[in-house]
């Protein structure tokens, strides 16, 4: 009897070990990057994904990439940089918007090299221009750093084809900046208006959430003057929200940083990712804006098209 019990116990241990091994294998296959285990099927899918571009690549369109909360200097930032270059080769985007927190943890000359110039070296070498906005971890003096193309200004605008871009300093939305923005929006004559800055006005991120006071000041201006798209970072995830008052809002704060499982999906969440880093590429062709969000493994997580709304339609959406 005693022998039988011993055998049963030994058998149970063996099964338990086998179960443990199988569980580990299953977990490893779910998160291949995090523990350096890449199953064949995953690698093949990744290679296939790397070729997939959903943008139309129309002639004379405006093509650009978007990164946010990127400047960590850690491996994932470099991996995102590699994917950016892979997709640049295919899509030929020629500028990148930076949504703030461009250089974390100090701003000595070495930090600019390790957290910006090296990860994006192939892009910089290819002549891709970066346009930065300031985050709460950024030294405002970054506005003088030549490759950020801020021209010594904490907030500025620039035109590319049919789009005017407005880079705002959401860490310090002074009355002067609000007046400047209103004047810029009022006099802007391009069909598309895209604003980018660090703090999100709408977000389902658990850690920060939306900045309500900033929203109260900015949204009325955006709607009055027909801003089409708003891009923000700060929350270390990706989220595309359902249009709010006719305006499309994206949160993209995971191009270097990542806060895992930080997205609490709600009715306003259209799509999101909070388990990996990534970036976005966009193309404006006529009255359509195409977007594609790509993870650091090269997988397309989200893609779609935004139809341009006339300024009057956005104003009417406000009234509803």
């Amino acid at each position: 009897m005693h022998y039988l019990l011993q055998r049963l116990a030994a058998e149970a241990m063996r099964i338990r070990k086998l179960f443990l091994v199988l569980t580990l294998f299953f977990v490893a296959s779910l998160c291949p990057r995090s523990i350096g285990f890449v199953p064949v099927a995953y690698a093949q899918a990744q290679a296939a994904e790397a070729q997939r571009v959903t943008l139309p690549l129309a002639s004379k369109s405006v093509r650009f990439a978007v990164i946010g909360d990127s400047g960590t200097g850690d491996r994932p930032q470099y991996q995102v940089g590699e994917q950016l270059e892979a997709f640049r080769k295919i899509t030929d985007f020629n500028f990148v918007l930076m949504l703030g927190d461009n250089i974390y943890g100090g701003d000595h000359p070495d930090d600019f090299v390790r957290k910006f110039e090296q990860p994006y070296k192939p892009l910089l070498d290819a002549g891709v221009k970066f346009y930065a906005s300031l985050g709460n971890h950024d030294n405002p003096n970054q506005d003088r750093y030549t490759p950020f193309n801020m021209g010594g200004k904490r907030y500025y605008s620039f035109k590319k084809g049919s789009v005017t871009f407005f880079a705002l300093d959401s860490t310090y939305m002074s009355p002067e900046q609000l007046s400047w923005l209103e004047e810029q929006l009022r006099t802007s004559d391009t069909p598309w208006k895209i604003c980018f800055f660090h703090h999100p006005l709408f977000s389902d991120g658990k850690f920060h959430g939306p900045d309500l006071d900033l929203r109260a000041r900015l949204v009325p201006l955006f709607q009055k003057y027909g801003v089409n798209v708003v891009l923000s970072g700060h929350e270390h995830l990706y989220e595309r929200l359902k249009p709010q008052g006719g305006i499309s809002y994206f949160v993209l704060g995971n191009s270097g940083q990542l806060r895992v499982h930080n997205l609490r999906r709600s009715d306003q969440t259209e799509s999101g990712l909070d388990t990996d880093q990534g970036f976005m590429i966009m193309e404006v062709a006529g009255d359509k804006l195409y977007f594609q969000y790509i993870s650091r493994s090269g997988a397309t997580i989200d893609s779609g098209v935004i139809e341009r709304q006339a300024a009057s339609a956005i104003r009417n959406a406000q009234a509803q």
Binding site: H137, N139, R144, S170, Y172, S174, L212, D213
Partner: protein, 196 residues
């Protein structure tokens, strides 16, 4: 002749009497306005100092290498520190100005926009606030708390090189170019609202 000597005293008494008579009707606006004018004068003096310093520490560089970006800031901070070596808390926020700032801030956070402002402040304070001291830099790489725009709309305007920041309950006057704390106001926000 004695009558002539007493004219200034008479005028001062008349002005005081007029002010005293007017103050019950609208006391905060008058006092606040005078205090903020005095504050603006102090800012003007600081700007003069900055201009003098700028001759040897260029601050209007529009495009630069990382070495220059950092070097310019460090040099400027050194010059300001040296020129204001004996600076203490309260040079800008003297007791009268401090009182008026506290009134305005309390009215703002207790007003219509108060809920949104406090929510914004609460989020901005999530990362540990730096230790405050006049002539001290904000710590390298630490998050700089965002100042809610509705708060800024109610505070006196600043020259472009200066900015207000809220750390805990304190209002900080910061030279952004030099990353230097110029002055700060303790207990600027009501404890009942901010909780610290």
């Amino acid at each position: 002749m004695r009558f002539l000597r007493e004219i200034p005293l008479f005028l001062a008494t008349a002005v005081f009497a007029t002010a005293a008579q007017a103050s019950p009707q609208n006391p905060p606006a008058n006092l606040t306005s005078v205090a903020f004018q005095h504050f603006a004068k102090k800012l003007g003096e600081y700007q003069k100092l900055r201009k003098k310093i700028a001759g040897s520490a260029p601050t209007n560089v529009k495009s630069a290498a990382p070495e220059t970006v950092k070097g310019t800031q460090v040099l400027l901070a050194q010059k300001i520190k040296s020129a204001r070596s004996g600076a203490k808390q309260g040079e800008f926020f003297d007791p009268v100005i401090a009182q008026e700032f506290r009134k305005v801030l309390a009215a703002t956070v207790e007003g219509e926009e108060g809920g949104k402002i406090l929510a914004s402040l609460h989020d901005a304070q999530k990362e540990s606030p730096p230790h405050l001291g006049v002539n001290q830099s904000f710590p390298q790489g630490a998050a700089v708390p965002t100042t809610p725009p509705s708060l800024l709309l109610n505070l006196p305007p600043l020259p472009k090189e200066l900015e207000y920041r809220i750390i805990g309950r304190q209002l900080v006057l910061r030279d952004a170019d030099a990353n230097l704390i110029i002055d700060y106001l303790p207990n600027a926000l009501p404890a009942a609202k901010v909780g610290r």
